[in-house]
Symmetry: D2
Subunit: 170 residues, 4 copies
Amino acid sequence: MHVQIFTAGGTIDKVYFDARSEYEVGEPQVTEILRAAGVAFTYAVEALMQKDSLDLTDADRAFIAERVARAEADRVILTHGTDTMVETAKAVAEALGPAPSKTVVLVGSLTPARFKATDAEFNVGFAAAAVQTLPPGVYVTMNGCVFRPEAVRKNRERNRFEAVGDPTRP
Amino acid sequence: MHVQIFTAGGTIDKVYFDARSEYEVGEPQVTEILRAAGVAFTYAVEALMQKDSLDLTDADRAFIAERVARAEADRVILTHGTDTMVETAKAVAEALGPAPSKTVVLVGSLTPARFKATDAEFNVGFAAAAVQTLPPGVYVTMNGCVFRPEAVRKNRERNRFEAVGDPTRP
Amino acid sequence: MHVQIFTAGGTIDKVYFDARSEYEVGEPQVTEILRAAGVAFTYAVEALMQKDSLDLTDADRAFIAERVARAEADRVILTHGTDTMVETAKAVAEALGPAPSKTVVLVGSLTPARFKATDAEFNVGFAAAAVQTLPPGVYVTMNGCVFRPEAVRKNRERNRFEAVGDPTRP
Amino acid sequence: MHVQIFTAGGTIDKVYFDARSEYEVGEPQVTEILRAAGVAFTYAVEALMQKDSLDLTDADRAFIAERVARAEADRVILTHGTDTMVETAKAVAEALGPAPSKTVVLVGSLTPARFKATDAEFNVGFAAAAVQTLPPGVYVTMNGCVFRPEAVRKNRERNRFEAVGDPTRP
């Protein structure tokens, strides 16, 4: 099993620069998480961008979607900021078309991976299983659940992802 | 989605008692890991035993297998020591019979969950996705991979799980 | 031995709020650090303010200095942001006058205490020893060293504290 | 300021070997702790032995005491297991004689440094300040306090160090 991993920044990769008393997106943390976990599957990691997901433009999203669509691997994990993860998931789903040939899982974390208390390791583990076991399609995996892009939202007040009602019903 | 979690001890739950300069199996760590991850699925945790898996007897294994088989939930995670995880997986598979009605995932960690550097959070995340996405059957999820009980072994020298050759071939 | 601890915010207490993708000063971390270390001396913790030290005003500094000067304890630790720690140390020294009757140690961290890799625990441990062993006076304890307020600066480029030359010489 | 650091094993350096389901003394953790803390003083680390302190013999203790006594540096930290730290401190004090020319601080941790929750970083920070600020002599620094070898014991039931009554009084 081979997994292509793309990273797009977001909270999971945030580091703190005391020199500027600021908090910025740093190097992809997924590589370190997979290394520490001793995973036996093969993978490649490519950083597509290092942005807070609120700063992603439509052009960024189109670029990400195209790169995912064109990837040779049929298992793709995309680490991404949580605020616009659902929008990017929809863009990727559209780029893959109605009969996708690959499984794409978007994942991130609500707390930076560098924190002592973080959901990053758990979430990456969850995504690693989801990408290997789910049928072709695009999924958002957050808070220990698998969501379809069209049926999930980030509840910012509660700071968690939750299913939204069936969009085909009134 | 509801998940029943049973715990059987093992490295994942090991703590250190300085008073005795010893290392013993403590409280189930999976509860804390799921809480920290903010999972949105519901679950119940029940500790079946707190043993190093090398100390599990055939009677222990039979007891565990029966409890898994009799569980009402059709999604079960069993945290377990790594040294005899495969044996217990086989015992559970036998107890479930040829047409299992539930998905059972065995998971543990090679380093105690209380260590700074540990595979515990990643592994529990992996198991949480696997138990929700895999069809009925019994699985071992370690090192970021899904294994069938009859096709996996722990390589003690390399300290990792690996697939074994197809047992039906010579 | 009794130690009065005042907190004034700064990097050591910074937390991350994903809901706003922002990084703010949170609850004093020194309490948790001392609790986890199992210290046998008695102490009280009082939060004077929760600010990034770049945002401290002269009035804030005067308030902090007065509270330290008026404290009943003769051993005081003040956790503080690193960017203006030296200025506050000088203000405290001035408030204590030329013959101080108490030992005051200012300490903070270059990385938030909530990070996996942080200097916070080490620094608080260092300050806890310094406040118990040093003679009356005001000290800055960072990077494993004891500095006098008039002979230290934060080198922002190198992100560390360093001694400055004798200010009485040309 | 230059500090010579000797290590003698003990809980602070304990690692876990899953392959044997055992817990053994590993590489000195003090080096990593000092590096992570970004200390500005210079230091050298030399491992004298890697043992559980319950396994230290009188010959081991004599060897350690002699190495400390013969060290060129006048500031020495000795990391050591907690169970017999006091005995070794007394042996070092005897080797230094009634008018010691150097400051020697013994420190360890009640929980291994590799644990998420550990007193190791705090304790090493405490020792680093103590060795720089205390007058010549031999000290045990545990639980955030400075003890004299003849006036401290490890209370094994409470798993902490505590002062013992003045041995010169009835």
